[in-house]
């Protein structure tokens, strides 16, 4: 983890009673031959959480979910469902009765209708098929907007409808924990918003949600806590707000390109001479569509947002005046990319710049060169 990357250690978690912990893993490890898919994982999903499991492709998210659902056997470690170890088949079955999950892609019988498939899910959960079961099935379909299409064959469904049916299946038995693996895959933007709303509604009802997603902005919008995986290891987990608290800062734009390195040098100088509230100074690209200063670069100052006026005064002391000075809230995307060492420019700040581009040490030196990857 980058020293400047704000975060909570992977071992974060205060004392939690068993009643509060819905899902916990301890030392969870999965090895396929010599390849370690998940290593010593200690996740902690608490009642009422909307927990986001994040990680690059191949980081072990799906393997972790599979182990939780009893599809894949851990090489080592333990999974606790609702406070009980799920190592034995009986305990696992009892725990999973309280879980609704989509593991990977939704899987249903193509020759059955959506309604019949949900009756099958009820049968898998040990629920007898009665008039009440059918009524609940129709409700679950209504809940995801598939009510009018419930009698259509699954094979006639679009990808988005299949995804909705998968979500309906997770809701069917009114579980205490819902596990969603990439729940918005295949959905159109409106569908994504609706799924997020549904997750929010579930959370308000006290249902715990564990979701894995590549869509970090989506996770940031709906999740209260996240766990970040890379190469099978948990790099960090904690409250989203806590993780991002340290990554807020200030963005400065200058009307003249040559002022940018001067301002950077001035701020670094101040940092080295007492302004220790300045954590870092880096170049950054503006958000797409946002105002771009001459030269195309902004200056990002990692400092508490309430220090904005001090930054302004400090620069004024050097005869430098920012044409734009605004708060920059930390995004999960930046945090994630900084933590996992990924790259990208999706939210306006180049990830590599955020993670590793050294700030200029003195004013007028190491002027930013706009280049792929945002290297200065």
């Amino acid at each position: 983890m980058n020293a400047s990357a704000p975060g909570i250690p992977a071992s974060e978690s205060g004392p939690q009673s068993a009643a509060q912990t819905v899902l916990r893993t301890a030392g969870l490890t999965k090895q396929y031959g010599a390849r370690v898919a998940v290593k010593d994982l200690a996740l902690d999903v608490r009642r009422g959480d909307v927990f986001g499991l994040l990680g690059p492709n191949g980081s072990g998210k799906t393997t972790t979910l599979r182990m939780m659902l009893g599809l894949v056997f851990p090489t080592a470690g333990e999974i606790y469902l609702f406070g009980e170890p799920a190592s034995s088949a009986g305990a696992r079955a009892a725990g999973l009765k309280r879980v609704g999950a989509i593991a990977e892609q939704p899987a249903f019988y193509p020759f059955l209708s959506g309604e019949e498939n949900l009756i099958g899910v009820a049968a898998f959960a040990g629920v007898p098929v009665t008039a009440t079961t059918r009524a609940r099935v129709r409700e679950a379909l209504e809940q995801v907007g598939l009510g009018p299409r419930g009698k259509d064959l699954y094979k006639r469904y679009s990808l988005g409808m299949k995804q909705r049916l998968g979500i309906a299946a997770t809701l069917l038995t009114q579980p205490e924990l819902i596990v969603l693996d990439e729940p918005t895959n295949g959905l159109d933007p409106a569908g994504m918003v609706e799924v997020r709303s549904l997750i929010g509604a579930l959370a308000r009802e006290g249902v715990t949600v564990l979701l894995s997603s590549h869509l970090l902005h989506e996770v940031q919008q709906v999740c209260t806590r996240v766990g970040i995986l890379k190469e099978g290891r948990l790099l960090a987990q904690g409250e989203v707000s806590t993780l991002l608290a340290g990554s807020s800062g200030l963005l400065l734009g200058f009307a003249e390109a040559e002022q940018l390195p001067k301002a950077a040098g001035a701020l670094l100088h101040a940092k080295e001479h007492g302004a220790d509230w300045i954590r870092d100074v880096r170049y950054a690209l503006p958000d797409p569509g946002a105002w771009a200063p001459p030269g195309g670069w902004l200056l990002r100052v990692d400092a508490p947002a309430e220090r904005a006026s001090e930054v302004n005064s400090l620069l004024a002391g050097y005869g430098l005046f920012a044409a734009e000075l605004r708060r920059s809230e930390g995004s999960l995307e930046q945090y994630f990319l900084a933590l996992t060492g990924g790259s990208g420019t999706q939210s306006g700040m180049t990830a590599t710049a955020a993670a590793s581009v050294p700030a200029p040490r003195t004013a007028g030196v190491a002027a930013p060169v706009p280049a792929t990857g945002g290297q200065a």
């Binding site: 599979r66 659902l69 009893g70 599809l71 894949v72 088949a89 079955a93 009892a94 725990g95 999973l96 009765k97 879980v99 999950a101 593991a103 990977e104 899987a107 249903f108 019988y109 020759f111 059955l112 019949e116 099958g120 899910v121 009820a122 049968a123 898998f124 959960a125 040990g126 629920v127 098929v129 009665t130 009440t132 079961t133 609940r136 409700e139 679950a140 209504e142 809940q143 907007g145 598939l146 009018p148 299409r149 990808l159 988005g160 909705r164 299946a169 809701l171 069917l172 959905l187 159109d188 409106a190 569908g191 609706e194 799924v195 549904l198 509604a201 579930l202 308000r204 009802e205 249902v207």
Partner: protein, 360 residues
């Protein structure tokens, strides 16, 4: 994307219907699962098609038998067909063929009619109870078996193909439950298929034959019991091969593996018996080896279940004649071998799944 919109209605406002309580006992949940698999069979187009193929083939066979009956009854009343070879005397037999045209001795109309009726009666007997069950049983253990194996492979392999095995296990279905429920569903299908054919055979035998003048034998309690045993034995015959499909579909995690191997084995048994006979004959100089080879088929599942079918259907109703002979085993051997195969196939399926990571 369709126009269907997902409505983010608050859960409490939507979920008014409370589901019935989940089954808590292993057995009850397994029964639910079995019921579910049977339901999927009923809803499959394949299930319906195979059902009607079986019924259709049976109807076609009965139709051919009835047609044969009428053809025999009304066959040739003139020309050569009404001629019979002249009686051959001892003296004529010793002579060289003279090259003269064959001498036909015309039959009287009464003789012709009697011959027709005898031929027709013989045919009529095949669709008259209990011989009608012989035909039904034969179709069951051949066509019925092939169709059931196809269905078994589709049911078991489909779980892996569609990925629904993940849904089931992710809902807390035990791996043992999963296999037992599938095996139970296949057993029910075997019972249904055999029962259907026994019922159809009985129905045809008790109606069509008598309508055409045949008389029915008294069945009695013993006869009814024999029919029950016949039905169960046919079901066992079907189930044995369905269990092979279960095992292979589980091993190969596919429909094709289940169907292909089970049907392949069905064919293999027939071929292997011929090969074994030839090898045993070639080993005539080594009696011990020849005897060993000769008895290899005694351990084939197909031979043993076929033996059971024949053995339970000989008296008082003569559904099947006595065993073909050549088997050096008895009913106990046959039952034990059949049981051992089922234990190995179903238990093996469980062992395959028990510690397997389900990743597809």
């Amino acid at each position: 994307m369709t126009q269907t919109q997902l409505t983010p209605t608050p859960r409490s406002a939507v979920a008014r219907a409370e589901l019935p309580a989940s089954a808590t006992s292993w057995a009850t949940q397994t029964v639910f699962l079995t019921g579910w698999y049977l339901r999927t069979v009923r809803r499959r187009v394949m299930g319906k098609v195979l059902f009607w193929i079986l019924v259709g083939i049976f109807a076609a066979v009965v139709g051919l038998q009835v047609a044969g009956y009428f053809i025999a009854l009304n066959s040739g009343s003139e020309g050569a067909a009404n001629c019979a070879p002249a009686p051959v005397t001892t003296q004529q037999a010793g002579e060289q063929p003279s090259g003269q045209p064959q001498q036909c001795q015309p039959l009287s109309q009464q003789e012709i009619q009697a011959a027709r009726e005898a031929a027709a009666a013989a045919i009529r007997q095949t669709f008259t109870f209990p011989s009608s069950l012989t035909v039904a049983g034969g179709l069951t253990t051949f066509i019925g078996l092939i169709l059931l194996v196809i269905l078994a492979g589709a049911v078991v392999g489909g779980e892996y193909g569609y990925g629904t095995v993940r849904v089931a296990l992710g809902r807390g279905v035990g791996r043992g439950q999963f296999i037992v429920a599938q095996a139970a569903a296949l057993a029910v299908l075997a019972l249904f298929t055999a029962g259907l054919m026994v019922a159809l055979g009985s129905l045809v035998g008790a109606t069509v034959g008598p309508l055409l003048g045949a008389t029915l034998p008294a069945v009695g309690l013993e006869g009814a019991w024999e029919m029950v045993l016949f039905w169960l034995a046919l079901s066992l015959n079907l189930f044995a091969f369905a269990a092979i499909a279960l095992f292979m579909a589980t091993l190969g995690r596919s429909t094709a593996a289940g169907i292909g191997f089970a049907l392949g084995y069905f064919i293999f048994e027939g071929v292997a018996q011929g090969i074994v006979f030839i090898v045993a004959t070639l080993l005539f100089s080594q009696p011990a080896s020849a005897d060993f080879v000769h008895h290899i088929p005694d351990w084939f599942i197909g031979n043993n279940v076929a033996f059971i079918v024949r053995n339970v259907s000989q008296a008082p109703l003569v559904i099947n004649g006595p065993p073909l002979g050549g088997e050096a085993f008895d009913m106990t051997h046959a039952l034990l071998v059949a049981l051992a195969y089922l234990v190995v196939l179903i238990g093996g399926s469980y062992l395959l799944l028990r510690r397997r990571d389900v990743t597809d």
